[in-house]
Symmetry: none
Subunit: 221 residues, 2 copies
């Protein structure tokens, strides 16, 4: 569950947004002035800030400026009735991630929040843990051993991916041939045996089951 700091001094609007987003399964920390907001930011693990600009003690621009100066890069959205282009510019210059003008539809706010969270997910690397210190990063095509990259050959890589993507599924020799060898290449059963041997050394012997005459199966759990 994501934690959202909501800085908005209008009690009514603050509550409306809070209820709506809580209904959408976010945890909302409401603040009604800049000091409160700063306290919350220090005390809670905040994933996103929704910031009004005209709030007591310190305006939202200065607030975010300070936060960013402290190397805090938590995503921020300004929600404000200041809607001159210069205000928008200033907002983005300070380092906000989006700028929404009042009045706005709650659903649009939700959409823009979700976009920001989705964006972050994309930047996270997708890698899966294998046993004994090995892990495999699909995106980078890297095999890691205790966080050190390991070289792995193309066909072995393809076979490893094929196996990992089909856990507990029987892969016939033909399935594997079609995946590893191009249409104009001649598949080699001997090579396959050699590759399986190599990969068993990575995944562990018992992780790949042999089905005589038929193929192999990657056994998960």
């Amino acid at each position: 569950m994501k934690n959202i700091l909501l800085l908005e001094d209008d009690l009514q609007l603050n509550d409306t947004i809070k209820q709506f987003l809580e209904y959408k399964n976010y945890k909302i920390y409401p603040a009604y002035d800049a000091y409160e907001a700063k306290d919350i930011l220090y005390e809670q693990k905040i994933d996103l800030m929704l910031l009004d600009i005209k709030v007591p003690y310190q305006n939202g621009f200065d607030f975010l400026t300070e936060v960013r100066a402290e190397k805090n890069s938590t995503p921020a959205i300004f929600i404000t009735s200041l809607n001159s282009v210069d205000d928008v510019t200033r907002g983005f210059d300070i380092g906000c991630d989006d700028y929404i003008r009042k009045p706005f539809a709650l659903k649009e706010l939700l959409v823009r929040i979700e976009v920001i969270f989705k964006r972050q997910v994309i930047n996270l690397q997708k890698s899966i843990d294998l046993n004994n210190g090995y892990s495999f990063d699909f995106e980078k095509r890297l095999l890691l051993y205790n966080n050190k990259t390991l070289n792995i050959r193309t066909k072995e890589m393809k076979l490893l991916i094929l196996l990992l993507e089909n856990p507990n599924k029987l892969l016939s020799y033909n399935d594997i041939f079609n995946e590893l060898w191009e249409y104009d290449e001649i598949p080699s059963h001997g090579s396959l045996r050699a590759y399986i041997s190599t990969i068993r050394n990575i995944l562990g012997k018992d992780k790949i089951e042999t089905l005589k005459y038929v193929g192999y199966r990657y056994v998960k759990q």
Copy 2:
């Protein structure tokens, strides 16, 4: 210089945006219908798409849907007079990066474009230290040796930047070809090998890892 595809069938508006952004040092490829846009997208290295929705042959939503289906993740901004919240939602669902309502201020468009480009620059540092007295200034695109600028050829420069901007990431031959050679040039594998050789002499031999049959990887740390 960033290349921007502009899909907008209103001739007047298309030209206004084009002139404004060209003044701001972007290269604009104008399209007046979905087919033109698709042609440009295939032929040019596009860094950002500005998409109107109501355009001839195919609407902007369907256009982006198709582009995304082809695993093209070039950032996109919808610029449109469709401004119901559902339209905004649909836009973000398809995978746009921002959604601007008409009428809009050109400066705000610029700000939102710049935010997207800034977001992409993972490497915020302006210059990085390489080993043995070399350093590279991203902003000025200069290679320095003991603080003296060094001459480096354009394609080698592009390759160096590509590598430095994608640390530990596998860059396929095709990735590199697309970056170094224009659409109407024929990439040369031999040249690439020569460039890699040159850059290895700068970065150090072991900084660029070869993945046979696949591509190269700049190894950081």
